[in-house]
């Protein structure tokens, strides 16, 4: 009995290694991105090898999960989807209850590591929306749009309540992209976007004071010399002084002299821009666009609606990371804790991102046949 089980596990693991189901262009893009991340991190982290080593370790873990998930076929994943979604939402509720009276907590302490359930939702929310839309008549009508909206709003609301606005935005975007890709009529999109824009003054009322301050600081960075205003000013100085070709690797004075806050995590893009200049920024954005494009291509080749929507949503939400982080570093968007994917140090985001790409690999391996 146990031996049979062991043999099965053994076969499964061996297949992961001997017959990996990966899309080479996508894997190549991710590899290049990860390598860029480690090189930038070495410089931003004051040549601290343990920092780079830790990040490389996370990449290894992420790659292992990617290979593992790539073996799970999309139809199996689809059957699991409601359970995965319900389970991850339940974990959010557990965190909310544990955090009661203690201000805020986002993670569960598993003993050996801290784990943020909100990371799971970045994947399970688009999965659930895709699962819901899969058997339905597309493009969706108001009823299905409303149901999908509820499926997105539950986790997004719980996460925003933590409060973790950055992750809430990412989760909402991932779900919304699935809806967009399902072919939701343009006029409905227009109406919804208009309604959301109309709700902005109301939403403002629900923001925490510090979140409002972040937005206001963007308009007048000098008003907050100790906090985010300082971050915004210093980040722009770093980016701007980089110029066309940059100051060269390990020559970011802004980061060296500690003018730039969080220079290994949220603001690592500023270090990158200072050292590699506009040329580097263009190269990095092209790399991101390539990865996103490849994801969408995989989505178009996918066999069924579920896979298509899921793959497309994962790829497009990758873009949200880049835009929100880049916009923050360049002083276009308020300071929100969204990392630059696969470049920023730490967090569980690298691991969860790579897991998401594992789903894409699996969808690619089960693409439709061209006869």
């Amino acid at each position: 009995m146990i031996e049979a089980l062991y043999a099965r596990v053994h076969r499964f693991v061996r297949r992961i290694l001997t017959r990996p189901r990966i899309d080479l262009p996508l894997a190549f893009g991710l590899f290049l991105l990860g390598a860029t991340g480690l090189v930038t991190l070495y410089s931003a982290g004051d040549a601290d090898l343990s920092l780079v080593g830790g990040q490389a370790g996370r990449f290894m873990l992420g790659a292992a999960l990617l290979l593992l998930v790539s073996r799970i076929s999309p139809s199996v994943l689809r059957n699991w989807t409601p359970w995965l979604y319900a389970g991850s939402v339940a974990l959010l509720v557990v965190v909310a209850i544990l955090g009661e009276g203690r201000g805020s907590i986002r993670w569960l302490d598993l003993g050996f590591m801290r784990f943020q359930p909100s990371e799971l939702l970045k994947l399970t929310t688009p999965m659930m929306v895709a699962w819901y839309l899969h058997p339905r008549q597309l493009p969706p009508g108001w009823k299905d749009i409303a149901m999908a909206g509820v499926l997105i709003a539950i986790p997004a609301g719980l996460i925003a309540e933590q409060p973790d606005l950055g992750t809430a935005v990412l989760v909402t975007a991932a779900g919304a992209f699935a809806l967009f890709l399902s072919g939701m009529a343009w006029w409905r999109i227009g109406l919804l976007v208009g309604a959301v824009a109309g709700m902005i003054p109301v939403g403002w009322h629900f923001l925490h004071q510090y979140q409002r301050d972040r937005v206001l600081t963007l308009l007048n960075p000098e008003s907050d010399p100790l906090g985010n205003g300082w971050h915004i000013i210093q980040s722009q100085i770093a980016v701007g002084s980089g110029g066309l070709f940059g100051k060269g690797w390990q020559h970011s004075t802004q980061s060296r002299l500690d003018f730039l806050p969080e220079h290994t995590t949220d603001f690592i893009f500023a270090v990158f821009s200072e050292e590699f200049g506009l040329v580097g920024v263009i190269a990095l954005l092209v790399l991101y666009a390539f990865i996103i494009g490849r994801c969408l291509w995989i989505a178009m080749e996918a066999r069924d609606t579920y896979s298509r929507l899921l793959a497309g949503a994962i790829g497009m939400s990758f873009f949200v990371y880049v835009f929100v982080n880049g916009g923050m570093v360049a002083g276009m968007l308020p300071v929100v804790g969204v990392p630059l994917p696969l470049i920023s140090y730490g967090g569980t985001s690298a691991v969860s991102l790579l897991t998401g790409f594992g789903v894409l690999m699996s969808i690619h391996a089960n693409r439709k046949m061209h006869i």
Binding site: D48, R102, S182, D224, L285, L296, G312
Partner: protein, 649 residues
Amino acid sequence: MKIRRSIKDPRGESMLFRRRALTGFALIVLILGLLLSRFVFLQVVHHDEFVTRSQANRVKPRAIPPARGLVYDRNGVLLADNVPAFRLEVVPEQVKDMDALLDSLGQVVPLGEDDLEAFRKQLRQSRRFENVPLKLRLTEDEIARFAVNRWRFPGVDVVPYLTRRYPLGEMFAHVVGYVGRIDADDQERLDPVRYKGTSHVGRTGIERSYENLLHGSPGYELLEVNADGRTQRVLETHAPTPGKNLYLSIDARLQKAAEDAFAGRPGAAVAIDPRNGQVLALVSVPTFNPNLFVNGISQTDYSALTGDPDKPLYNRALRGVYPPGSTVKPLIGLAGLESGMRKPTDTVLSTGVFHIPGQTRGYRDDQRGGVGTVNLVRAIEMSVNTYFYKLALDMGIDRLSSYMGEFGFGKPTGIDLIGESSGVLPSREWKAANYKEPWYPGETVIAGIGQGFWAVTPLQLAHAIATFAGHGVPYEPRLAMATQGGAGTMPEPLPHPPSGPTLIRDPVNWEVVNRGMEQVIYGPRGTGRKVGAGFPYLMAGKSGTAERFSRTTDAYETNRSAAYLATRHRAWFVAYAPADNPQIAVAVILESGSWGAEAAGPIARAILDAWLAGQGGSIEGSERLPEPAVVSGGRAAGGQAPAPVGATP
């Protein structure tokens, strides 16, 4: 006629998706282009300007933490202070081998296991160029020894700072509380900008509930740094706004009198001014030294506190719940009058045992054989159970608990401290929520004498008695009385209006119950006669002796030694004075007291004596009693307290 499309169209969907994906990608490229244009704007158009700013970037802000507000008692006695101290700090990036450094440093300045653990924890969380405190509160000897050896330890420095000190220590541990070092959990909770540079945050007591007020907001200085990032000089200083000072309504003299009167025996006492809800004393015995917690308590000290069977860290006044026993009888009597179930003249025959009609189980009086026929005043004076058994049964539990609930039982009082218990107000709803049984009439009977499910905190009881003494006008108990913006400025009183109109519908009812409580002190068979002896103003009170277990054997009848009783009883005494114009109400519990009046009464009296001394020995607007000798003799003989106007005996 609408035809519903019910068949999925895979090919159409696929095409639709293809169009959407391409549109989406185009949009993404467009927005990334927008982002890129911003980078072009910064890196090409304004490149020169930013290069100049980057080169001129020699100015760094550094937060200056605000000084924490001080805490005083109502007369300006200092309860929480900031004192200068010195600590060792390490800059990690200037240390090559941290373990070797700590080893050799430990031979110069002794470093405890606790210091090292806290240091390592903070080291992991902070950045390499940030100072990390290694050892707080250096002694002068340690400073001198380090100064001589300083050259051996680059990156280590002695830094002055302000630390919190509680001059009266243990006496206010349960009121003022203490601050503690900010830990990882706090960091997630606190506003990072407001707490920049701050090392401590309020943990318990006033320090916690008034954290916002006491903390203040940080200032900053602009430092010029050289090419290595080292500070050259200070360019500008923006001073922090110190936290506000806080005046508590507590009187340290009352606090001390109460604590002394307990003499270390576990219990609690709360004194409240009925006219405004101000807390004059709040004592929980035993207590602990809050100064131990400020800079991280050592494991030994902490285990000593947590291992103590008397639980010194436990705030009995706020969290301890006990059956109130007979102390609630006056309020139950009041409920009887107010609800119209009783007139002051109604009498009950006490025979020593009470039966619910049709039941055989007996409910006892404390006096064997009973005391005969009593009205409400006499029933309060002698604490006659039968009167209240019958009253509770006649009122029914619903009416009883609704009246008692108005006086704050069964819910937090709303004092400005965190963590008070709700206690238990016996009611059908409460029982339904906690037991799988219906409400029994017998439970109504014992609820009438403050037994059964009843559980109150000393604070709740003091609050209820103060509310009664204040002619029913309810005030939430308050510790913070005034704030002060800066030294030398006038303290600004914090407004504290009553939480509602008076709870007493007919003032005559108040007079009757008040009369009963005066008779407890002055009546011929009053249970608290000794407590009032010699007090120059009219006092009113009530004793309570709550049983911790139900009587299962006859040992109770035969063994009446104080030591035996102390193991079964909790002794209560509540009082207020002057009865003709109440200005202070107290509730005292002694966890192991033989009888309420004998054990807890003297503590209540000690608090009242200290209060009277604090008033200069005389109280305006209140009639001074004749000389003590005459009082006890005359009153006992006559058995007649001066009847307040309007009282109907």
